[in-house]
Amino acid sequence: MKLYKSLIYRELKLTRRHYLLMLILFLLMLICMLIPVILSGDEGTDTAADSSGVNMLGVMVAMVGGAGAGLDNELGKADINSGWRRYRIVLPPTALQCAAADMLVKLMYVLVFGVLTVAFCVLVNVFSGSMDVLAVMNQFLMLTTAFSLFSVVYNGILMLAKDEKDIKKYGTIASIAVVVLYILISRTLASSGMGRLIEKAKKLLEIMGTASFTVFTLALFVCVCTAYFIVLWRAYERREP
């Protein structure tokens, strides 16, 4: 336990700037979105247009929250730059323990952003009563999973770097890989045409509020988290050539 406390303390200290910025951005966005909802709160959301507007707010909040929780915190890069990645090999914690600590920190931030997203939904519901909390949570989890997937690819390539010299090369390759992955996903989604894509999105939004979709999203999230954990573990276990 003491070991994990030490590892987590180190990681929280190193990633706090990144997450603090993300949290400030997220909170500012939540406040900006809440103000119009609060101001128009008395009138309620009678029309379908109002309801879809509120749902759009949910999508945007889920997107920014998901990005905050899922985007890479650059810890791996910082560890390679400082020489800690090499030094860690001569320290007692095993690769598995280090990866577990990284994972715990990530999950903790997913929880923080998740709680804030729920809090936002509850507040919107208090004033307008029309937000589907489950749908927003599913969207949040889905987007966290998507951003985490980019993080898996990024870290997977970055683990080949062993020092500051390598970091530029592999950092660039990793960034390009993430962009390529994004383009591939976008192309796959758009392959059936824009009209059908909007149709699909609408259908997806409809089923997003269901419990079965929650199970699906959770399963996907667990899969990506497992992949993230394995990549971190392998990165910590990797020896220099």
Binding site: K2, L3, Y4, K5, S6, L7, Y9, R10, K13, L14, A78, S82, G83, W84, R86, Y87, I89, V90, L91, P92, P93, T94, R239, E240, P241
Partner: protein, 292 residues
């Protein structure tokens, strides 16, 4: 804790890189000894240290630390050793206090009082960020961390390189104190032979990935000598007595590998004692035999 005779045992270790091979190297460090690991830049010191710490995998051979296998018993070993690199591997945003919080959970035998004592002794600020430390302060912090968990083996890779003589002397003094109970050992790689001349009990010379010489420092220094003679005398010197010959416009300086014997054999020649620096230099040119 197990009983062991040698803190480090390296047997026939080979590691191949493109353009460099650590070639079948072997040496031991008995418990309680300071081993100076000497060689010029690129000789293979860092590769050897990285191999024994399992930072890199070896292609062949066997390494035992504290009597344990360096791969199979890795986790146990790492609780009982400390490593100091030439560059501080800590993040700039941390301070000395943060490092104690990080290490106290990692090492079962972390001694916070000892750490704070070293911090005070080195006059390191507790709250100042490491990024604002000078090179000397960074090295002192790394050493303070390494000495605060009762490590039985301290491995240092060029730890004193780049430090001013006053700091180097202070650090060497602390190492001597650290070894006083006879249970601890140090492997110290350096190309500053004067540091090793001061504190090492044993030395190992490495060049081009091969061990040239290993043994007790005093014995090595006592055994070797620089024989000075004219060039015309060179033919009279037995090749088996010679490590290598340095020629200059006045004559020749020959490193002999048995000073006492050479003193008897070549009575009309002057034989000066050799320093570690000289021994390293002559051994590096061993293959050339004659150099200037």
């Amino acid at each position: 804790m197990n009983d062991y005779e040698n803190a480090v045992e390296i047997k026939g270790v080979t590691k191949k890189y493109d353009g460099f091979t650590l070639d079948n190297i072997s040496f031991d460090i008995p418990k309680g000894c300071i081993m100076g690991f000497i060689g010029q830049n690129g000789a293979g010191k860092t590769t050897t240290i990285r191999s024994l710490l399992h930072i890199t995998d070896i292609d062949g051979g066997e390494i035992r630390l504290l009597g344990l296998d360096h791969i199979k018993d890795e986790t146990t070993i790492k609780k009982r050793i400390a490593v100091v690199f030439d560059e501080l591997p800590f993040h700039d945003i941390f301070n000395a206090r943060d490092m104690s919080r990080i290490f106290e959970g990692m090492y079962p035998e972390w001694d916070n009082a000892a750490y704070l004592k070293y911090i005070e002794r080195f006059q390191l600020p507790e709250k100042k960020k490491i990024g604002q430390f000078s090179k000397g302060m960074k090295m002192k912090l790394q050493i303070a961390c390494a000495l605060s968990h009762n490590a039985e083996l301290l491995v240092m890779d060029e730890a004193t390189t780049g430090l001013d003589p006053v700091v180097r002397d202070e650090i060497l003094h602390i190492f001597m104190e650290y070894l006083q109970n006879g249970e601890r050992s140090i492997l110290m790689s350096s190309h500053i032979t004067s540091d090793l001349e001061k504190i090492a009990d044993m030395v190992t010379f490495i060049d081009k990935g091969k061990i040239l010489l290993t043994g007790y420092k005093d014995e090595i220094i006592e055994r070797h000598g620089i024989l000075k003679c004219g060039k015309d005398k060179l033919a009279e010197i037995d090749t088996e007595d010679i490590v290598s010959i340095r020629t200059n416009s006045f004559g020749a300086e020959i490193m002999v590998n048995d000073r006492e014997n050479a003193g008897c054999k070549y009575r009309d020649c002057v034989i000066d004692p050799a320093k570690l620096d000289d021994i390293m230099l002559y051994y590096v040119h061993k293959d050339e035999k004659e150099w200037s």
